[in-house]
Symmetry: C2
Subunit: 293 residues, 2 copies
């Protein structure tokens, strides 16, 4: 469907997009784009056959990007404004542009900072898929299979760009939903950003204790699953938390209140309230599982 | 190794013990013991062949227990004192007794309440294995394979009881460690009890929100893993939290401080400190994974 697909950032997300786009025949030619500092990962992407060619900013990237009919920006949200600046001079009004950032308000703001307004052929997109590993070696052909991908179009978004990207993402295997930007950031803060903060904070707390080696020695499967997301890339999560802090900070206070409430129930010996808290949570999670497809 | 093994409570733990004990030929005859109110589960255990026979308190249980040479108490920690009361009149000095409770200080206290002191042929044991499901249908033949089981003997514990139970648990596939009672309760509060409180509290917080259905709709694999333990049995976890609250309450305050610190870093825009928190946690979890066998 595209002649020249450029993927800026060929890590877990960008690599998985490139692999599946090739398998599905969505692009004749796929280029991995990045900075010279990322040469090791980009060369690896080329040697694995994830991309046909690599191209660097300050080298051939500007030329490659000007000729692309689809550009996917798959860098951490904290780097998107820099990428917009790189793209500004070679922005192609006939191409479609998208990103995969985990926060959307900040991406819109970055676009406004660089372009004055969000270009009509740029659609902010967030695939709800990931893993705790990063880099092109973490890429998976079926990372998006059956997963949700959220489009957060702006008032400017062109019908053509929306349609092309919808087809693209559906062919990658994802199920497309549309959401308002602010709503996206609130929902993801609750289901993804807060849990990551909790997992990082718990592991750090236990690591501070004198007996941390022994604590970890006697941790079981439940702890392993619970803390899996604490193995996520710290830079990426720093970016996400900084870019969505207006949603995350109130949630941190809310979970603290919730935890203090449990502490108070325990102090008072209020078994009924503890049981209600736990059983309400179990039922709610069951409803969550029931609606997972 | 035993003629008559009685398992009081044939749920996930008791059922898994009975299944593996049979496979390993650790007992000639295995009886599932409980109250008439648990008849449905016990009959299911018998029909599945997990136990050879079932026996009820107030019926034949007293006679069966008096003739057992090994009794495993596999009930929630909140019910152990009641079981000790049932056992008191038929306590066999030549048998070995053990439990599988997740908190050990409370089990010792219950034994003291009933027997005056902890009987020398009772060894408090905690297998670090579990699942979020409960009941005999959740039993697994290899639940304990390669898992740690912690013995928390008292000063009274007889060498014979310790040896027999060590052989028994090793044949069930577990790796036996020994720990002081208070230390066990502190370590498990950190690795298991606090994470459960966090998971239950997070799911409950999100469930309270107006958009809870949508929040759960857009939750991904990370959320599913993170909240798996919130599907655990609320009664069992009520018991555990009430019985180990002296360890759990301070940990709730510590994780709240940890979370508030992250909130403050975000408010101040202190990227360096957020990064340090997240990367310290990632490194600590990697050390945890490296020591997992």
């Amino acid at each position: 469907m595209f002649n020249n697909l450029s993927v800026i950032g060929v890590g877990l997300m960008g690599g998985s997009i490139a692999c599946k786009a090739r398998e599905q025949g969505l692009a004749k030619h796929i280029v991995g784009v990045g900075y010279p500092a990322q040469a090791l990962n980009l060369q690896r992407a080329e040697s694995l056959g994830v991309v046909d060619q690599v191209s660097y900013f300050g080298g051939t990237a500007e030329e490659v990007l000007a000729q692309s009919d689809c550009v996917i920006i798959a860098v951490p949200v904290g780097s998107i404004e820099q990428i917009f600046l790189e793209l500004k001079g070679v922005w192609n009004p006939d191409a479609v542009y998208s990103d995969v950032g985990s926060t959307k308000g900040s991406v819109i703001q970055s676009a406004r900072n660089v372009f004055g307004d969000v270009p009509d052929n740029f659609v902010p997109v967030h695939p709800i898929a990931g893993a705790e590993n990063s880099g092109v070696d973490a890429a998976q052909l079926d990372l998006f299979a059956g997963k949700r991908v959220i489009f957060t179009p702006t008032e400017n978004s062109s019908a053509n760009a929306l349609l092309q990207l919808r087809i693209f993402w559906e062919k990658l295997g994802a199920r497309v939903s549309t959401m308002a930007i602010e709503h996206h950031d609130a929902v993801l803060a609750a289901t993804s950003h807060l849990p990551h903060v909790l997992a990082f904070s718990l592991v750090r707390l236990l690591d501070k204790k004198d007996s941390h080696d022994e604590i970890f020695k006697y941790a079981a499967g439940g702890f392993k699953d619970f803390t899996r997301i604490a193995s996520s890339d710290p830079s990426m999560w720093l970016d996400i938390c900084m870019n969505n802090k207006d949603e995350i900070i109130p949630l941190i206070r809310q979970i603290n209140d919730e935890l203090e409430e449990v502490a108070q129930f325990l102090i008072k010996g209020d078994s009924e309230s503890v049981f209600k808290t736990f059983s309400t949570a179990k039922s709610a999670r069951q409803r969550f599982l029931d609606q997972c497809d």
